[in-house]
Structure formats: C-alpha cells, structure tokens
C-alpha cells in the first residue's frame, strides 16, 4: 500500500547461485571475524582498576553541599522531596539555635535528611528542584553495593559533604 511517495523496497529474497552454494559466505564471514581477531580490542574496560571518564553531568550519588564557610546549605524547604518521583527523600526540619550559626547557613535546617537508595531512580529532579544549591548528584561517585537493608537509607552522615580541613 502506498501512502507517501517516499517508500523504498529494501528486501530481496532471491538468492544468487553464489549465495546458494554458501561457501563464499563462509569465507567472507570468517575473514571478517579473523580481521577482528587481529585487531587491537579497545572496547573492554577492566573495571575496578580502570574506570572510564564520566560525563560532567552524570547523575551519580547524592551529596549535600556546604557553603564557603563550611555551613550546611540545606534549609529543609522540602522541594526535593516534593519533586522526587520515587518518593525517596524524607526530611525533618528544625530551627537553628543560638550558637549554631557556624553549622547552618539559614535559620532553618534539616535535622534528619534521608535518601532511600532502593527507591531512588537517579533522575536528577531533586538537583534541579533545589533552590539553595544544596543537593547535587556527583558525576564520579556511584551508590555502592550493600549487604543490609538499613545500609541503603542514606542519612546525613553519608550525604553531607565532609568538612574541608584547612
């Protein structure tokens, strides 16, 4: 059936005599595979020792960033939890007390912040939603394998960026 004038018939099922006797095809196929046999194979990466360079925008494991003075940026606004299509993020907000100004940037902060890595689909929507430059997906770290279920719920101890030593 012709619907447009762009169609082009592509399959030809009639075999020529040379194709029917099959021997040339064997030789042709073998020559191709033999060529690969002697070609230097560059496709394999010996993974744990050798790692391929990841893209700058790769969506890997989450990190909660600190600002220039080492204070936590997150203000527990909950936008990342709202944007999460997998409902992986939970948090509890708390008010900053006197004397904690060096720990938290704003008056409100997340006392607990958990990402369930079993639910997380690494879509990057939390990173996009964050209005405080706090949560990012790192391009060079992946969520590691785990042995116990409770190891998979990442709390602030695993997520917050470690304090830079001067």
């Amino acid at each position: 059936m012709q619907l447009s004038n762009r169609s082009k018939k592509v399959s030809n099922k009639k075999m020529t005599f040379a194709e029917k006797i099959y021997l040339p095809a064997i030789a042709g196929g073998l020559s191709i595979t033999l060529k690969h046999f002697f070609r230097k194979n560059t496709a394999t990466i010996k993974y744990p020792e050798q790692q391929r360079p990841m893209s700058q925008v790769f969506r890997g494991l989450h990190i909660l960033k600190r600002d220039e003075e080492g204070r936590e940026r997150c203000t527990a606004c909950g936008l990342c939890a709202l944007a999460c299509p997998a409902e992986a993020i939970t948090m509890v907000a708390e008010e900053r007390k006197k004397g904690e100004e060096h720990l938290y940037r704003e008056e409100k902060y997340a006392s607990t912040y958990e990402v369930n890595m079993l639910r997380c689909i690494f879509c990057g929507l939390c990173e996009e939603a964050c209005p405080k430059e706090a949560i990012f997906l790192q391009n060079n770290v992946m969520a590691p394998a785990f042995f116990e279920r409770d190891q998979v719920i990442y709390g602030k101890d695993k997520l917050v960026e470690p304090v830079k030593k001067v």
Binding site: S4, Y22, G29, S55, V57, P85, I121, G124, L125
Partner: protein
C-alpha cells in the same frame, strides 16, 4: 486390569477444558498427543518476562496463548498522581531501548496541551536524540535476532557502537539507560562541545561498522533460510491488529508517523521509508537495517542545520520552563516561578490531547485528559508492543518452536512497554 489403549475422547470438550479458544488441532488425532509447553515467563530466549502457553504437536506449534502483566507497574495509574514533569521517568521505563523517544514524545504531548511553541533549535536537538535512540533500538533488535539464529558475533560488533550512543546520552542528559531527557519547552541543557564532538565521531565511525554487520547477515544463506517465510503476517491482518512502525512497513505499507503526521520539524528532513514484501522476519530485519541508515541521514542533516537553527535550547516561556539557577538564587520572581513549577502548579487547560511519535517499535501515542489540575486526569499510553504481542500466537502457529523465538525477537516486543 491395566489397559494400554487410550480411551476415545471428545476433542471439543478437551480443548474447552484446557482453556484455549483458538486451538487448531486438525493434525492431531488425539489431544493426548499435544504437549503443553510454558515458554516463559523467564525464558532466556524471550528477552523479557512474557509467558506463552504453547500447545505443541511434536516440534510444531498448534496454538499459543500469551499472558501479559508480569511486569505491569500501573504507570497509567501512577501518572494520575504525578505532576507532568514527574511522568517522564515513568516513560523511560516503557521501551527502555529507546527511552529518549518516549521522554520527548511525552513532552511534546504536554506542549500540545499547553500550547508551548518549541524553538527550532530545540526541535532539531530533539530530532538528533530521537534518531540516535532509534538507531540504538534497531541495533539491539537486529543483533539479538542474529543471536537467536545462532550468530553471536555481529551482536558484539554493533554493541560497541550502541555504547557510543549511550555515551552521547550521558553527555546530554546525565544518564545512559533511564534518561529522563528533555524538559517542558525544550531540552534541559544545550549540547556541550563534547556531546557535539561525540555525535560527529559517531556519524563518521558508525557506517563501516554497520556495513560490516550487514555483510555478516544480509546475504548469509543460513540467516536467510532461518528468517525467510518465518513469522509472516499479511498487510491486511497487520492493519487489522493495529500494527505500526517497522513491523507494519515490513508487510509493505509505508506508514510512518514522521511522514504522515510530522512533528518536531521532521518535514524539513529528507529521508525514505523502507518497506518490505511479505512481512516475514527477513523483511522486518531488512526494514530495520535500512531505517538505521535513514536515521543516520536525518542526524547528518540535523547536525548541519543545528548551528543555523533559530532560538535556543528551550522555549522562552517563564510559566513552564524553569528559570536559570543563577536567577533562582538571587531574584525573588525567579524563585517564585521555580517553586511554582516544581510544585506542579502550572495552569494546565481543561482538555484532551493525543500525540503520537514514531517510537522505536511503532506509533507510540500519548492520550492525555486534563481536568485543569496539576496532574493528568487520565493518561493512556498507546504502546505498540502490546499490539504486536496480541498477534504473536497467530504468527507462530504452524511453525517450529525455534522459529517462534525468531518471530518474537524480530517483532521486538519489549516487556517494559508491553505491560507498562
């Protein structure tokens, strides 16, 4: 007393009791001669979680009954509770061999509902990503078809090029398989220099590999003997079932959504629609191969047009597209829009809209009903794999079991898309 003789049985009654509706057992004298074989749910040769309850007469298939729903994840229902931008990750997981097509098709549906005009540059960027996805999808299908006929080598050769395509995805959107690509009104970021260099390198490196792949299979007698007149379907039956995409084109009907109902600027591109003769496995293989070449042609044209295209990589519409991050941190208005969009409070009109794209497997349609709320009132995915799978028993009746595997493989039924 033990009798070795079988008691005569009522054939119709036995067929009924076995639960099959379309049993064709003219050759079998007794149904006792038929073997019931469960092909699946986790059979390695079906490439996914499908179950086929086959009635076998020796090596011949007498009838088959497909079961669907093994990885049904209720995407259509989940989508009713998600704002529009959170539905893209769901579409990723339908046809996971070509997720950018699903993502972008979904965004185009929402844009149709909201009336967002996408700039030309963003459209061309989308076309490049969609055609790359089509190449990746067809490469998988054809090379796995080769594996099913017993030729493992070609599969490994083209898989390296598929890896290159995935690296391009990674550079554009940040992930390789579940891409979550595109945003309402454009793309999430412009192509960076690495992405453009990688696409150009792919255009240059891919043709020799593809030619090599084709020289291994196209005119190979074993491959031709295995695939010609296997799993055929007539154009009329295919149309009655609702076939689209490569499987319909293999029967000789040149229906392509990109030509018949152009979207995202496909009317600006020159490409041909490959068709087959009789809709058998070999035709489907040839049509997919030629579509890879046509997709490559489209990508080449799009890369030429991209620098001259008008507009940026997103629509300049503050109601729907997220403001720049630098503005969000400093300006109050941008912050308000940011919160509004993330919370899904975009002003969607009441209405219903259908948009179809030419997916990796066929016409991938999105039927969206909006009641003006932040989530769809109802969303239906027209998934081509679901339709192909209905025709599968009819196509494999009378064949041997190994041919049924080939038929399934060449239909490219993907479990994620079948069940959604």
């Amino acid at each position: 007393m033990i009798t070795t003789e079988l008691a005569p049985i009522n054939k119709d009654e036995l067929m009924r009791s076995m639960g099959s509706k379309n049993l064709i057992a003219e050759d079998a004298v007794y149904l006792n001669d038929l073997t019931t074989l469960n092909l699946g749910p986790t059979h390695p040769a079906t490439h996914g979680i499908f179950q086929n309850i086959l009635q076998m007469d020796g090596e011949r298939i007498v009838s088959g009954e497909p079961t669907v729903g093994y990885i049904h994840r209720a995407f259509e229902k989940i989508a009713e509770n998600r704002p529009y931008y959170q539905i893209t990750p769901l579409t990723d997981r339908m046809n996971y061999c070509s997720s950018p097509i699903n993502n972008i098709g979904w965004w185009m549906t929402v844009e149709k509902l909201l009336g967002v005009q996408v700039p030309q540059k963003a459209q061309y960027m989308r076309i490049i990503m969609m055609e790359l996805a089509r190449i990746a999808d067809h490469l998988i299908c054809n090379s796995i078809l080769g594996v099913d006929t017993g030729a493992f080598t070609g599969f490994l050769y083209v898989f390296q090029k598929r890896e290159d395509i995935y690296e391009i995805y990674e550079e554009v959107c940040g992930a390789r398989l579940t891409t979550n690509m595109g945003r309402l009104g454009g793309m999430e970021r412009d192509f960076n220099d690495i992405a453009i260099a990688k696409i150009k390198k792919f255009i240059k490196d891919f043709p020799p590999v593809m030619k090599e792949f084709q020289s291994l299979f196209d005119r190979n007698r074993i491959f031709m003997d295995r695939t010609i007149d296997v799993g055929g379907i007539t154009a009329e039956r295919a149309l009655n079932y609702g076939f689209t995409g490569p499987n319909l084109r293999a029967t000789g009907v040149d229906y392509d959504v990109r030509v018949m109902n152009p979207y995202s600027g496909y009317q600006d591109f020159q490409f041909e629609v490959p068709i087959g003769e009789s809709g058998d496995t070999y035709d489907r293989y040839c049509v997919r191969n030629e579509e890879i070449w046509q997709s490559l042609r489209i990508i080449e044209q799009a890369m030429e047009k991209l620098p001259k295209a008008e507009g940026g990589h997103f629509a300049n519409d503050a109601r729907y597209y997220l403001p720049a991050k630098a503005d969000v941190y400093t300006k109050m208005e941008a912050l308000i829009y940011h919160f509004k969009i993330i919370m899904g409070e975009i002003d969607a009109p009441v209405g219903e809209v259908y948009h179809a794209v030419e997916g990796g497997n066929g016409e991938l349609g999105y039927y969206l009903i909006s009641d003006g709320g932040r989530t769809p009132y109802r969303l239906h995915f027209r998934r081509p794999c679901f339709i192909y799978y209905q025709a599968f028993p009819e196509m494999c009746v009378g064949q041997s079991l190994s041919d049924a595997i080939l038929t399934m493989s060449s239909l490219n039924v993907i479990a994620g898309e079948l069940d959604a």
